[in-house]
């Protein structure tokens, strides 16, 4: 099977279209996802192809339509709800914490809630503190939910298709700044299972655990490090919840060093979960150095690009962290 080049955004759109073609119960709802094509243009031609019954433009009522998605998922539909910016998850957070992930369990396993919540996450766009956050850690503490964050077009398509077919509520965190990046995507039908990390680059000297946009920063750093003879392994978690612990643990046992890189602010971020996963496993005994977490500084995302960039991990900081842990 060949591969064709497309953007992250196009790959997402393909997944949406294919799944809507495949299953008439799949439909989308969200703000301005129709004629406007979505705030980031992800919908593209979907509205023309599937019409207003399948691409439902909602009022600006995130609680309202997220609740509607839940109710319709419980009763047999497979909604895909789009929240324009991940920051806005906060205005319908009850649906994400107290409803979608709990209803099945609380109701004794009698129903399932098969739905996907797509949203655009991350900063770098100069949109300031209320439009730039990476809130995944706030979503990975609620049993019943799954959380996915793809870093390449290929992953985006394959993971989204699996998310849509999954019988549980899945939060699908798209990376704003990756929407227009290109990559090769397999032709034809394929899916990528949830819960399985991907080693984006193999290496033996140090494990870098990362996900989302930071994968590319890490790969960039890895390349430069390779030129200096330092061979890092880059793990792209892809699914954050549930997390692929065996993959992390095996890698750390091999490399004996680990740094964790994420865009979200450091304190309370997923870096802690990843580090703890390692230090409570047998990999602990293999570690030759402290685990370094590299993340954004603990500050609301500043508007000014110098500040915004300044608080973010970058290739230089990643390289420095790897060297520090290997020192």
């Amino acid at each position: 099977m060949g591969k064709i080049e497309m953007t992250y955004k196009e790959a997402i759109r393909e997944a949406l279209a294919e799944e809507m073609e495949r299953d008439e119960n799949v439909y989308m709802l969200g703000e301005d996802i129709g004629i406007y094509k979505g705030a980031f243009g992800v919908s593209g031609d979907l509205y023309d192809r599937f019409g207003p019954e399948r691409i439902m433009e909602t009022p600006i009522s995130e609680t309202g339509f997220m609740g509607a998605a839940i109710g319709s998922a419980m009763t047999g539909m497979r909604p895909i709800a789009e929240i324009m910016f991940s920051d806005f998850l906060c205005v319908c957070y009850d649906m994400l914490v107290n409803q979608a992930p709990k209803l099945r369990y609380m109701l004794g396993g009698n129903h399932s809630v098969p739905m996907v919540m797509r949203t655009a996450s991350g900063g770098g766009t100069g949109a300031a503190a209320q439009h730039s956050q990476s809130l995944e850690a706030l979503l990975c503490h609620t049993p019943g939910l799954k959380v996915v964050i793809p870093s390449t077009p290929e992953d985006a398509k394959g993971l989204l298709k699996s998310s849509i077919r999954d019988n549980n509520p899945v939060m699908f965190l798209e990376q704003k700044l990756l929407y227009n990046t290109k990559g090769l995507v397999p032709e034809g039908e394929y899916t990528i299972p949830l819960g399985v990390a991907d080693i984006k680059k193999e290496g033996s000297d140090c494990t870098i655990v990362t996900y989302g946009r930071m994968v590319h920063f890490c790969l960039g750093a890895a390349e430069k490090l390779a030129a200096e003879g330092i061979n890092v392994e880059v793990i792209d978690l892809r699914t954050l919840y549930p997390m692929d612990k065996p993959c992390i643990i095996e890698s750390v046992k091999k490399t004996k060093h680990c740094i964790i890189v994420h865009e979200a602010v450091k304190t309370g971020g997923l870096g802690g979960e990843i580090a703890a996963t390692i230090t409570e496993s047998e990999a602990f005994n293999y570690l030759d150095a402290p685990i370094i977490r590299l993340a954004s500084e603990d500050v609301p995302v500043p508007f000014c690009p110098i500040l915004e960039k300044g608080v973010l991990p970058d290739e230089d900081k990643i390289i420095a962290a790897v060297k520090k842990t290997l020192a």
Binding site: G64, G67, S72, Y105, M106, N167
Partner: protein
């Protein structure tokens, strides 16, 4: 306020009475075993509000669906869910409708169209919109009735759901049980206009007010709303005015209301009044009424026995059902 006018059949009259009795007995049993320490957790009883439950459910079609609140026992009893399994749930037993995982606030029964209670005020109405959306998409003639209280009507979720349902013309019935208090807080403290039905116009929605202690009036109002919705006219807000005789929950000291107020509403007991109506209009005899009550008592005694006799769930199963396959 609507007043009852219909002449009804004996069968229907006794059915409504039975529903109200069973609701009341259900609550009384829960109250009793709660105070005996045999029921764990918390529980919200709706003693005095039985006509809203019986009348509303009667006004719906059997295939219609409901989603309720923290105070939903009666509505679910009236919808025909097995009281044994309901009681077992409240006793935290494995045989309960939710296998003991949900308790009082989360009772559900998909087969009976009961999509459960919800412990978060304002969150059920949006979910109701989704249930109705499925029915609309699938072309099924089913209405989703969502219950909520006067206090909960001030939650943002309620507003978003009403607007969404109206804008999308969804077959949702918003059933507001106005018992004049949200916990201890009288509506006059938290709404400048306490006429909750006045909110409907803003959404372009029809509204009906009804005496929630008059089971026939409720039945008729809901039937009218059901018809309107069924004809594709979009959602309706039905405000049923009643009163909660029981405290809000176990922690209620009733400091916010007078004994006189409670006593006055006790006089308006929907069961007592409906019994008088059935007798006065020659619809049923004293004996028949007594039989209905006795049957309800027996059914609920049996339910308690079933619950007590049932086993607790095993801790080994505790992680089951967090995720669907």
């Amino acid at each position: 306020m609507k007043k009852k006018e219909t002449v009804i059949s004996k069968e229907f009259g006794l059915k409504l009475l039975s529903d109200m009795h069973r609701s009341r007995k259900f609550e009384e049993q829960v109250q009793k075993y709660f105070s005996l320490g045999m029921i764990h957790g918390t529980t919200h009883l709706g003693i005095g509000e039985e006509a809203t439950a019986a009348g509303t459910v009667a006004g719906l079609e059997e295939r219609d669906e409901i989603i309720t609140t923290h105070r939903g026992h009666s509505q679910i009893v009236c919808k025909g869910v097995d009281v044994n399994l309901m009681m077992a749930e409240i006793f935290a037993k494995e045989t309960g409708v939710c296998k003991g995982r949900g308790g009082s606030m989360h009772i559900c029964d998909q087969a009976k169209g009961v999509w459960s209670g919800n412990g978060i005020l304002g969150s059920a109405p949006p979910i109701a919109c989704g249930i109705a959306l499925t029915r609309k998409k699938k072309g099924e003639d089913k209405v989703t009735a969502v219950f909520f209280g006067d206090g909960s009507s001030n939650e943002g979720g309620c507003h978003e759901a009403m607007n969404l349902a109206a804008a999308w013309n969804l077959p949702v019935m918003f059933v507001c049980i106005n018992n004049t208090y949200g916990m201890s807080t009288h509506i006059s403290k938290v709404m400048k206009n306490t006429n909750i039905s006045d909110r409907a116009a803003g959404y372009g929605m029809k509204a009906i007010d009804v005496d929630g202690n008059d089971v026939l009036a409720v039945y008729e109002a809901v039937k009218e709303a059901r018809k309107y919705i069924g004809e594709g006219n979009g959602p309706v807000l039905v405000v049923e005015h009643s009163y909660r005789i029981s405290g809000h929950s176990k922690s209620d000291g009733n400091l916010y209301r007078t004994k006189e107020e409670i006593a006055a509403w006790r006089e308006k007991c929907p069961i007592k009044n409906f019994k008088a109506y059935l007798l006065e209009n020659g619809i049923a005899t004293e004996e028949e009424l007594a039989q209905v009550e006795a049957d309800a008592t027996k059914a609920l005694d049996d339910a308690v026995q079933f619950a007590i006799d049932s086993p607790y769930p095993s801790l080994d199963t505790v992680l089951d059902d967090v995720y669907a396959d």
